[in-house]
């Protein structure tokens, strides 16, 4: 248990996956092509978020938005363990999860810009990206609200009997709200195939975790429900994958839910208007040194899987693609004020 007053240094997680029942041994190792793809996926999310940042400064993104730079390894590592017919629920910091599951950048930008070509026709906005055909069933603006919904998708998966799972992403702040507790309890009691993936970035909005929660390792919450729980370094994409994949496999097999705590950190503030001055400089710098993309880039270079030159090409390509997608999205039309809104509400 770390000292709650510690202000500097990264929280060092207790190492890799610790699955119960030893199911981890069944997960096939990743090949080089897959590794490069993991890197490219993280880069794409990063470039998308950086472009959102730039577009916001240009006045193209309205209201506010919640960026996830620094947390890409969680989205990408988790997505790697999923099938096309699995369900994913996420939060208002959800761009990364959507891109990781294959949402196209242009309609995503268009949604943030409020255009008619946005994934939700401009009706949802940054906090509500959704793509039901990719199993991205909903993004919830109310903290914790998605967990019971993910439980429901878990019931569906259980009823369908095809081995589907329901994965839900949420932050450390959600672990204190009623919906969280009810969802974990029901999932455990009904043995639902739900993966509760907690992105513990140490801050619930502007408040550091020790002020709101009795402990920093949120796996303890899950164990309170007698649920299998795993803690993992959320900035190591392969570690995330190796932690989640066995839990997913067990859920597919009827083994019930798992809580996966990913220790991570967000580079930017809570939302666009937050300069995050409440975070100690040393803490921020220590975590920036553990940037998941830099870490993986170095690892792949060291093991000869991806040269620096090729990595740089991937980054440039992603940056250009994001820029182009944003440009196209910015040229799109506004939604029709005379459209049939009732039909958008009722089927």
């Amino acid at each position: 248990m770390k000292s709650p007053k510690r202000a500097s240094g990264a929280t060092t997680p207790k190492g890799g996956a610790k699955p119960k029942n030893g199911a981890g041994s069944n997960i096939a190792p990743l090949n080089d092509r897959e590794r490069v793809q993991l890197f490219a996926d993280m880069v794409q999310i990063r470039e998308f978020e950086e472009q959102v940042h730039r577009s916001y400064l240009e006045g193209l993104v309205h209201g506010t938005t919640h960026l996830c730079q620094g947390q890409e390894a969680v989205s990408v590592g988790a997505a790697k363990a999923l099938r096309d017919d699995d369900y994913v629920t996420y939060t208002y910091r959800g761009h990364g999860h959507c891109i990781a599951r294959g949402m196209q950048m242009e309609p995503a930008f268009a949604e943030l810009f409020g255009r008619a070509t946005g994934v939700c026709g401009g009706l949802g906005g940054s906090m509500h990206l959704q793509d039901i055909d990719r199993g991205l069933i909903g993004s919830f603006g109310i903290v914790g609200a998605g967990l019971p919904v993910a439980g429901g998708a878990g019931v569906t998966a259980q009823m369908n009997g095809r081995g589907q799972v329901s994965m839900v992403f949420f932050g450390d702040g959600a672990c204190n709200i009623g919906a969280f507790h009810e969802a974990l309890n029901i999932a455990q009691v009904w043995k639902l195939p739900v993966l509760f993936v907690c992105e513990n970035n140490l801050y619930g909005e502007f408040t550091r975790i020790e002020h709101t929660t009795p402990f920093e390792d949120l796996v303890k919450r899950a164990r309170g429900y007698d649920m299998d729980a795993v803690m993992v370094d959320g900035n190591d994409v392969e570690a995330v994958y190796r932690a989640i994949a066995p839990a997913v496999a067990r859920a597919r097999d009827g083994g019930g839910p798992t809580f996966v705590e990913c220790k991570t950190y967000r580079h930017r503030g809570h939302s666009r208007t937050d300069p995050a001055k409440y975070r100690p400089q040393e803490e921020l710098e220590a975590w920036l040194k553990r940037d998941p993309i830099d870490l993986y880039r170095a690892k792949l270079a060291k093991s000869g899987v991806l040269s620096e030159k090729d990595a740089a090409k991937i980054v440039d390509k992603a940056r250009d693609a994001a820029g182009a997608a944003a440009k196209r999205a910015a040229a799109a039309a506004w939604p029709d004020g005379n459209q049939n809104f009732t039909a958008k509400m009722f089927a």
Partner: protein
């Protein structure tokens, strides 16, 4: 198809059971609804027939299982959530108002949300303030939700079937004082009642009385009292609060020139205000007196029997309201 006399409770049970036989995607969840058949016996025998996967006893966790209903509806199932007391809608308010009601719209119509929330509410049975609300006005200002109020066994049967078959979220507000009331129900797999539209239950020409749920019977009682005094009142069951269809009520007021709305709600924020507002707008030149409302007093419903009875609109108080306009 046979017309049977049955209770409101039996009508609910019949509708649910028939629909679950028809469509394997329908799942029902709620507290104590499994082997116990539900605290109000509205699910009697369903657990035995459909099993634990389709008839799910939930923990006491309205947010948890109403949220789960949304998740199931988004992924191809058609859940029914039974809320034991309408007052508990307050517990899962966020899941309903911010989640269920808004989900399809925010997604740009990607999602369809075919779910039913049934709550059993209402006063008059001495359950006290936290177990006696009907739930009618709490979600009135939430677009994206349908709200219906069955006042008889036939409506309970037919509207519940329609609600289950509707591809949108429907809040069915049942009334516990009506559970044992009897009425004729035309049983049949496809015998549906529409989810919108008021119905004239008793035609008349001297005054229009609009009511819902348990107040419908009291309004009819008031009409009987009035007719003994030579006043011929028309009684309308509003049936559906969202969407609210005002046409037949306007038509009635054009004929009678007088309007009384009876609600088991407090005055401020009660749905009757919306009825009055729309009628004044549509039938202004036909009103011979200001519309009147008969509502609960503006404090929580008291427990003690005489106090509770005095608080609820009665045939006498409704008749007096009509006479005050004549």
């Amino acid at each position: 198809m046979p017309v049977q006399e049955m209770t409101y409770r039996e009508a609910i049970l019949a509708a649910q059971t028939e629909e679950m036989r028809r469509d394997p995607k329908i799942i029902i969840m709620g507290e104590d609804i499994g082997p116990s058949g539900g605290p109000f016996k509205t699910c009697q025998g369903m657990y035995e027939e459909f099993g634990a996967l389709r008839v799910r006893d939930t923990p006491i966790a309205e947010t948890g299982f109403v949220g789960a209903a949304l998740g199931m509806a988004l992924t191809g199932y058609r859940p029914i959530a039974e809320i034991m007391f309408a007052d508990f809608l307050g517990v899962c308010f966020d899941q309903i108002v911010n989640g269920i009601a808004k989900h399809r719209f925010m997604s740009g119509a990607q999602s369809t949300v075919p779910l039913v929330i049934r709550s059993i509410g209402g006063g008059g049975l001495r359950f006290g303030a936290q177990h006696s609300q009907t739930g009618e006005s709490w979600m009135l200002s939430v677009p994206g939700l349908k709200i219906v109020c069955p006042s008889s066994p036939a409506e309970a049967y037919g509207m519940l079937k329609s609600a289950i078959r509707d591809d949108n979220p429907v809040l069915v507000l049942e009334h516990k004082a009506l559970l044992s009331s009897k009425g004729n129900v035309d049983i049949g797999m496809d015998h549906l009642e529409p989810l919108t539209g008021p119905k004239v239950l008793r035609p008349g020409k001297d005054a229009t009385i609009v009511a819902s749920l348990n107040m419908v019977g009291r309004a009819l009682g008031a009409a009987d009292k009035l007719s003994a005094e030579g006043i011929d009142a028309e009684v309308i069951d509003i049936r559906s609060l969202r969407p609210m269809v005002i046409g037949p009520i306007v038509e009635s007021v054009r004929k009678t020139n007088l309007l009384v709305v009876v609600e088991e709600q407090v005055q401020v924020g009660g749905w009757g205000a919306e009825v009055v507002s729309q009628v004044v707008s549509e039938a202004f030149d036909y009103l011979d007196a200001p519309p009147a409302r008969v509502t609960l007093p503006d404090y929580p419903l008291p427990y003690s029997p005489a106090l509770e009875d005095a608080a609820l609109p009665s045939p006498d108080s409704i008749a007096a309201a009509v006479k005050s306009l004549i």
